[in-house]
Amino acid sequence: MGRAFSAFRISRKPVLTRFPIIQKVNPDTISGLSLVFSPIAYLLLSERAIFASIIMIFFILLLDAFDGAVARAKGQTSSKDGWMVDVSVDRISEAIICLALSRVFILLTILNMGLALLSCRYKKHAIIPLRQAILVILVAYYVLQWHPIFFYLKQILFYW
């Protein structure tokens, strides 16, 4: 039983620790990279290049998830500093992306920024996953071009 438990423990070890290069990478720099790509997503959305925007936002979210994985692999799990970097980068990233979208998303960005400040004040994490929501709406917009709902999605995304 003990052996099985220890085997389970080994399998729970972060996979990224197997790569020595991960120890040299700063998770904050990965967060920064996700921020660097945000203006590109904004420009693609402005050009109504929906498929390319979906890929770019997915890549940004992937980088965002990767920085947390790298931090965990390096044993930096309980850091409030990491939360601060992550949340501030996320808020600016979604503010840049939402510049290409309708006022609904700009208002949601403002709401999210307020929530981030309240989260910091009251030490409780309560934030809307806005970029994830944008990604889902964009995928629906791209896939459902034949459906009557397409008109409403277009209104929500770009005109309101």
Partner: protein, 156 residues
């Protein structure tokens, strides 16, 4: 980032991202919004002339996330009067915070928390930082001038 870098980058976002609202008025509005946040540095100008840089402690709450929140709310309010002017202001404000977070040590949650955040994508050494800023500013400037010249907004 330096003042020119902020102006060039904000106007690039405007020109490429919202070409339908580009006009001399929106270009000026974006430029003002992109630099007005830096006014709080003026109180520390004397120290900065000696050290050749503004430290993160010279940034007030209006230069961090609470300031961006307020600036975005003001821009949305302007949007209900003039949609193009509001959007131009919004682009200017957001681009400023974007460049600052990317290239400088900031305190995003100040005054709630004084933790300094630096993403490590720009050098901290003064000489290297000056070179880095110069290259980026020149690149933004050349692209912006070329685009504005191509669109006939700027003429020589």
């Amino acid at each position: 980032m330096n003042t020119l870098g902020h102006i060039f980058f904000a106007n690039l976002l405007l020109v490429f991202g919202a070409p339908s609202i580009v006009s001399p008025t929106t270009l000026i509005a974006t430029s003002i919004a992109a630099v007005i946040t830096d006014l709080d540095h003026l109180a520390h100008l004397r120290t900065a002339l000696k050290t050749h840089r503004f430290k993160s402690e010279t940034r007030t709450r209006w230069h961090e996330l609470p300031g961006l929140l307020l600036a975005m709310m003001a821009s949305v309010a302007v949007m209900f009067v003039s949609a193009s002017l509001g959007r131009a202001l919004l682009i200017g404000f957001v681009s400023h915070y974007f460049l600052d977070l990317l290239t400088r040590p900031t305190r995003p949650f100040y005054p709630l928390n004084e933790k300094v955040v630096f993403l490590g994508l720009a050098p901290r050494n003064l000489k290297k930082l000056t070179a880095y800023d110069t290259v980026i500013t020149a690149t933004f400037g050349v692209i912006l001038i070329a685009v504005l010249y191509g669109q006939g907004i700027l003429s020589i």
